[in-house]
Symmetry: C3
Subunit: 271 residues, 3 copies
């Protein structure tokens, strides 16, 4: 085995909630809590940040994020709100703010091309952060849903700033204020998505594209990406911070606490 | 009558040029000069500002603006230009600037979700201010026309800044410089409109939507709206001021005075 | 001949790489190196700048740029890179930067409506500068291609800033990072183009439009255009400078030098 060639594909097993695969100059992150429809719990936020940090520094050319199973990601795991037992809500809100701010910041500052392969429905923060990706390919089964106001909450992921730029305020408000769930076609028309692929060939077709992109001159890609992003970085940091501040206030509001209590009551009544 | 329940709908009759109706947490403003195709005279500018001020402060959740009759609004009433008898044009221009600047400012700063129900053709300032609404629903009969340069004038309502953001400069210039009249579909494609409805069911379908939206948590809606707008507010104030300054110069130009004289000559010759 | 009326059309023959025609208040610049598919060499950059300078100052109302033959423009003539014999690459890069910075600046500051008539395929800088035009009409034969990363280079013409505004980052990155060639319809959908015309009637239909536009009040057009652009001018100057700085670094990189060497090898091997 000492003679065996360097493996062309390596899978990192230090993570519990994501899979990481490095192959063909591509650093691939797969959200991997399929029983929870890839909902983000605190460990998963931390592991994605750690993976993005590695991906930005290693010799890969670009980074891909996708999901295991039928969902891309069902958003923030609402059980994050109950993990402290509800005993100290201000402390819970402060901790959640700190994680969220760092998480979104790791997308704002990611130095290489970042490509989302949306393999199914996407909810909440997995939708709002899409404006920070460089390419977004989705299956025709994908939907995009950000039901913030029905939960008494407010937008994050810099979407309050980027979504109006992508689709205008009249369409962004319907999505971010009034809980409109977008089809793949509607997300494409609103510039949230680059291209739609048939579900049956989604993985094959998109990985062929990404593999081809990873052969391009890496410095040219990386520096061109940063040129496209740098004029916005200070503004995005500010937006991220203001969005997090508002969420801290929202999480402690009656509107939000009632909505989340109702969510868990409905869930229990189904058991 | 002392026992009668609190009315579910109240209509305010202190206004002469608009109707105001408060029902189901919705503050509804109806432009009401149907014989003038809802053209805006000075009193109407003032009454809309007064209504918006009230709507921002009362216990309604959101505000709707629509029009009576076949038109949404035919724009600035050109008779505003002749109301001073043409005797003191610089004074007329100064007064008109002051009204316009306050009028557009009241949209920039409106604190709750603001929804336009475009029930027919829209012209001039009733089009340019649409970028300051949160949702714009229109009937398939609607058209959108901003014939500024044919009148020797220039864009207002922050459209010189917002329209290029919505549709790109190549499409915005055709509208704001070259007098292209948009169909409902073209306005939808250019992100000026959120959704188009069949004329026959327009009022019913859109009021059903708006009524549903008004049941959402009010603080979440209001604070999320302001989050989406706050990064732009200083810039929009500056744009509003510069647009008004240019209009003062334009109103006193030969190009504009000749165009308006020709407008009234054509009108007279039809009598 | 002393009695002959002032000519309605004049053609300026002081230029070697472009044609200039002044007629019906329109200053028309035609890129005229059809054997090179209207590729831009250093003389052509200078002549276009000189023509734009004249057009901004004379009594024309608007300016049109189009191309001779089947191409609109095949981009930067790669022979510019070999014109110094490759002897002094840093000096070559410095000179090219200076020309490029002035060239793009002359579009940023152009004071009158600027209309592109894209008569065929457009490549590189002839695509990236389109965000600085006010109207872009194209034939259905047109394509839009910016293969920067395949040449180890990076975007210019303010496209790194304007393209994400026009079409969102997810679509702009595919074009500027991953070499996607756009059809006319794709360019229209991405707000790079105002309208597409059938190739057979392209020249006739677009010149009819432009001729009509040139009859509008000139001061209204010029001042409205500048109102629409002024809020962006400082930012665009900064973007232009940063794009040029990155290109200077790119032109001296191994990635770029290898790509250009391969380009000329492939060309030679075809002879």
């Amino acid at each position: 085995a000492a003679d065996s060639p360097e493996p062309t594909s390596t899978t990192d097993s230090k993570f519990k909630t994501i899979l990481v695969n490095k192959e063909n100059k591509i650093y691939k992150i797969t959200l991997n809590r399929p029983k929870k429809m890839n909902a983000l719990n605190h460990l998963m936020y931390e592991e994605i940040m750690q993976a993005l940090d590695e991906a930005g520094k290693d010799n890969s050319v670009l980074t891909v994020i996708t999901g295991t199973g039928n969902y891309y990601c069902s958003g923030n795991d609402l059980e994050n709100f109950t993990s402290t037992g509800g005993a100290d809500i201000p402390a819970m809100a402060k901790q959640a703010r700190e994680i969220l701010y760092r998480f979104v910041g790791s997308f704002i500052r990611f130095p290489k091309p970042l490509i989302a392969l949306i393999n199914g429905p996407a909810v909440g923060i997995s939708v709002t952060t899409l404006g920070l990706f460089d390419v977004v390919y989705c299956t025709d089964r994908a939907t995009f849903h950000t039901p913030f106001s029905s939960l008494g909450q407010s937008p994050e992921g810099c979407s309050s700033y980027i979504f109006p730029q992508l689709m205008g305020s009249a369409k962004a408000s319907e999505v971010l204020l009034f809980n409109k769930k977008l089809t793949a076609q509607e997300a494409l028309d609103r510039n949230l998505v680059t291209e739609i692929f048939p579900d049956a060939s989604f993985e094959k077709e998109t990985m062929a594209r990404v593999t081809k992109y990873a052969q391009l001159p890496p410095q040219s890609l990386q520096k061109s990406k940063n040129l496209m992003r740098q004029m916005q970085k200070d503004k995005l940091d500010k937006v991220n911070s203001e969005e997090c501040d508002l969420l801290v206030e929202r999480w402690q509001s009656d509107e939000c606490m009632n909505a989340i209590m109702n969510f868990f009551k409905r869930k229990e009544s189904k058991l």
